[in-house]
């Protein structure tokens, strides 16, 4: 898709608005990581990836797997932009029977690709998806986003080894490096640094970017797509709660919904109602 940088920014603003709208309506959810990952996800869906909204089972589609499943409000807000989710469904996040479950559910929303939520499992799944494509000599790309806190899961590194062994250069992972997790700073809870060196040591092509700079995101994804022989890890340095002044870098907003006063401020900061 050919959106300009300004258009991507406008989409990202609406996505942030709707993600927070859903979380506020639900009264629970994870605003911090939804906001930090928003710009990368918008770039993937509105610039980089090849897919057909009408056919989520198209065999040659690029896949995106949100391994840090708690950031799903952002994914749902993107699906709303794409017409997959209807306006009235935005009011059903985390409600019984809703397609918008607390973590992505592919049985109800096949576009989500993976039912994530138990952290650490998405990269292994993505390795399998990429391997399946390699067996059949398909040229699709498998994108997967993991959290920096999630990188404390041992399974991530099992998958890291496997992806290199199998030479999966059509596998592109992104770490949402926002530096925070529920109990505090990642570097206090369980240090993951030096993150880039770790991935390099596992044989991956590593690119570090500002995860809120659209030109850098686009360039990194394009470079990753043409790299051959090894998978790529894009470490996207981001700000938890990015885009809402009183949420930025506030650990409490990892898993706390905005109250009605905070919602008013959000609406003002993002420039009005954006889901009419």
């Amino acid at each position: 898709m050919n959106y300009s940088l300004d258009e991507l920014k406008e989409i990202a603003k609406r996505v942030r608005y709707n993600a927070l709208y859903m979380i506020t309506k639900a009264g629970s959810g994870h605003p911090g990581g939804s906001l930090s990952s928003a710009d990368v996800l918008v770039t993937l869906y509105f610039h980089t990836m090849r897919y057909d909204v009408e056919n989520p089972y198209w065999e040659d589609r690029d896949r995106f797997i949100l391994s840090k499943g708690h950031a799903c409000p952002t994914l749902y807000a993107i699906f709303y932009e794409l017409g997959i989710i209807r306006r009235e469904e935005l009011d059903t996040l985390r409600k019984p029977g809703s397609r918008l479950q607390g973590h992505p559910d592919i049985k109800r929303l096949p576009w989500a690709e993976f039912s994530s939520g138990s952290l650490g499992q998405g990269l292994s799944f993505a390795v399998g998806v990429a391997l399946g494509g390699k067996i059949d000599r398909r040229d699709y790309y498998t994108f997967v986003m993991i959290g920096d806190g999630e990188s404390q899961e041992g399974q991530v590194w099992e998958a890291a080894m496997a992806a290199r062994k199998f030479g999966l250069d059509h596998l592109i992972a992104i770490t949402d490096r926002n530096g925070l997790q529920i109990d505090g700073l990642t570097e206090d809870v369980m240090p993951v640094d030096p993150l880039a060196e770790k991935w390099k040591a596992f044989g991956w092509n590593v690119i570090e970017i500002d995860g809120h700079n659209f030109s850098q995101i686009i360039e990194a994804l394009e470079k990753a797509k043409t790299f051959r022989g090894a998978p790529t890890m894009i470490i996207a340095h981001t700000i938890k709660g990015k885009g809402i002044s009183f949420m930025e870098n506030i650990v409490d907003f990892h898993g706390k919904a905005p109250n009605s006063k905070e919602w008013e401020r959000i609406t003002i900061e993002l420039g009005g109602e954006l889901n009419g």
Partner: protein, 312 residues
Amino acid sequence: MVKEAMRDAYGEVLLELGKERPDIVVLDADVSKSTKTVGFAKNFPERFFDVGIAEANLMGIAAGIASTGKTVFVSTFTVFASGRAYDQVRQSIVYPERNVKIVATHSSITAGEDGAMHQSFEDIALMRTIPYMRVISPCDGVETRAVIRKIASIPGPFYVRLARPPIPVILNDSYQFELGKGVVLRDGVDGVIISCGIMTHIALEVANILSNEGIDLGVVNMSSIKPIDRDLIEALAYRYRYLISCEDHNIIGGLGSAILEALPYMNSRLIRIGIEDTFGDSGRFEELLEYYKLDPLSITYKIKEVMVSDRV
């Protein structure tokens, strides 16, 4: 008596399936020589992946490959497949109903000398409590072949538990496995043993011994533990005063529990024979059968004991 290891039968049928079906992919976690996936690996290297000693990753990759339209067979030992990778099996494979067949070997005490850390007495319980998961414990090599062929053609996840050592072949080659169906191997009068896995040939031996002592027991092979044959269990409960469950698994959560859950009411008495809520031990498989009182004579004594005390 002809003996065959279930895992050998698995290796053979996997090779046949590999030739017939290009959609079959096999994964192992550094135990391919033991699980017998090695034959497939040698013949179809482009469709075999060894992920090393990483069972969590094994299950996740299997789910991913299955999502691209493949039929994926995954093998490691039962203790690792069901226990170590439980969360990955639950979340990555069964919840989204991925087309992954987990065929785990070295079940229960057949892991033998390797001892408690390699023996799972809990795998049936763990796997069958996951909604939609189907659990099968074949009784010999013939049934293993039939089960593997059958599940290769049914979409969605399965857990199959296979034993390590050669054990007597009791079914004939024309045997057809049917999911959710028990098979009556022998009719009786006084009661019926319902068994699975390696305990089925032992159940037949028990029935032989007791028939010489005037107790006539039927034997039913209940390899399909989930879904279980509710109709047959109900019919058996109508017909027999004694139901005897017989399994090399913890009596908590295994075949005996599944039978109880399938009974609409308790008409007959259920004697549960299995591992009495404990961990494993090192020893030859035959030694361990005696150690856990799962050998024919120990089972015979236990059944007689209950029947005699009931008469008093």
